[in-house]
């Protein structure tokens, strides 16, 4: 479901006419930013669907779980 949602969002973003909202020169960055951001999200979502054990926030958990336990006084 997450992968499907991210894909739909990417399509909506690609079809969106940025020139209506963004000032001149910024429109291209908005479009590319959206496509790249949602592309990354879509890739993450698809990977998550196939390998559910790999959580998108796993790197943060790996980095900060032990220091947080140390803050609790039980690290």
């Amino acid at each position: 479901m997450d992968g499907v949602l991210a894909s739909i969002l990417a399509v909506i973003a690609a079809l969106f006419d940025w020139s209506r909202l963004a000032p001149e020169g910024v429109a291209a960055k908005g479009t590319w930013g959206t496509l790249i951001g949602l592309g990354v999200l879509c890739a993450f979502a698809t990977a998550y669907q196939w390998w559910p054990s790999i959580h998108p926030l796993a790197p943060l958990t790996a980095l900060f779980e032990r220091p947080t336990l140390w803050l609790y006084g039980s690290g």
Partner: protein, 372 residues
């Protein structure tokens, strides 16, 4: 650029901490202690104090610059951009967490049959629209909400006082200070450090030099309100606060006067949803300004729609349910926030101090032209 007053900054900061703090903090504190839960709330002052210290250095070393601009100016185009991306990612992950908390709260409390995707879309769209209108509009909405909160909140919680039992708090500190410290970790290092978000608003502040004091005032107000709220929650529902996701909601649901005044939780949910949307918009505007600094564009409104879409999607993608959100807040957020909003800026200011004033000013000239 539209500017916001000190009063608006303080209100924005207070609702930033209390927006989700009111909803989830009594529950997370009760994980560790019930008798002494009220003693854990003032720890938010520790986070507020750290943020005020960071802001004090920032305002003196980088007047008129946001934190992402300071990172770029001090650490150079490569490391500075990477640090800026890390900071923007911190705001993004925080936004996704808040977004998931909002949808979980609304669907649990009032709209159990509505798909969470729809609720999340509506909440993030409201916040996105506020952001698109600008930071001054967000400040004014915060001002508008304040009188309503001042009237409605004491009324709601005052009516619940008839069930209050002071014996719940005795014996005080029976298990020592350790459970209180553990319960204070989330208020101090998760909610307290959210005040650092204001470093992204520096360009819009009418009086940037007072920002450290504003953060301290907001932290003191938040600590006072949270202490009252947690004391009331524990006094009314007792030890069952440990097992409830939304203990404050249960306190409000307990209000019943005669056969006429009951189910006042609707008022509570309306107020909380409003403050949650304000919190979302405060984080969202900071994310858009970080993206503006990273992409070096003149305006940040182009980032509102794409980032809102990404946050909406990520909030469900990162957290499947409320248990995952709570676990993330309890076990990852404290160290993550401490590293990102305290250690990273302090290292940056230390590097800036070593490089000296001349080196920075040489960089500031062309950078200011590109970023404004």
């Amino acid at each position: 650029m539209a500017q916001i007053s000190r009063y608006q900054v303080i209100l924005m900061l207070v609702w930033t901490a209390l927006g989700t703090g009111i909803v989830t903090m009594p529950g997370t504190i009760a994980h560790f202690t019930v008798h002494d839960a009220w003693l854990a709330c003032p720890w938010i002052l520790l986070g507020g104090g750290l943020c005020a210290g960071v802001a004090w250095i920032h305002i003196r070393r980088f007047p008129g610059q946001t934190l992402t601009q300071a990172l770029h100016l001090t650490l150079g185009p490569w490391i500075g951009t990477c640090a800026g991306v890390w900071y923007a990612a911190w705001i993004f992950v925080s936004l996704a967490t808040i977004g998931r908390e909002v949808t979980a709260f609304i669907t649990t409390a009032v709209l159990p049959n509505t798909p969470e995707f729809v609720v999340g879309l509506l909440a993030i769209a409201c916040a996105g629209y506020l952001v698109y209108l600008g930071i001054e509009v967000i400040g004014r909405v915060n001002q508008f909400i304040m009188p309503l909160a001042v009237v409605v909140a004491p009324l709601l919680f005052g009516l619940a006082l008839r069930w209050f039992d002071a014996d719940t708090f005795r014996p005080v500190l029976a298990d020592g200070w350790m459970p209180v410290w553990r319960a204070g970790i989330v208020p101090a290092f998760a909610y307290g450090l959210e005040f650092a978000l204001s470093l992204q608003w520096v360009r819009a502040l009418r009086t940037p030099r007072t920002l450290p004091w504003d953060i301290l005032i907001a932290a003191a107000v938040s600590a006072f309100i949270l202490t009252l709220l947690v004391a009331l929650t524990v006094g009314v529902i007792g030890a069952s606060a440990t097992y409830l996701n939304y203990p404050v909601l249960e306190v409000v649901r307990s209000v019943r006067q005669g056969k006429f005044i009951e189910r006042l939780d609707t008022l509570y949910v309306m107020g909380v949803v409003t403050t949650l949307v304000l919190k979302l918009s405060s984080f969202h505007v900071s994310l858009c300004q970080a993206l503006q600094d990273l992409c070096r564009t003149r305006d940040w409104r182009w980032a509102v729609f794409p980032s809102a879409l990404a946050v909406w999607s990520a909030s469900f993608f990162f957290f499947r349910n409320l248990a995952e959100v709570t676990d993330f807040i309890l076990h990852v957020v404290p160290a993550y926030f401490l590293f990102t909003v305290v250690l990273l800026p302090l290292v940056t200011y230390a590097v800036a101090a070593i490089r000296g004033k001349d080196g920075l000013e040489r960089r500031m000239g062309p950078a200011r032209q590109g970023m404004r």
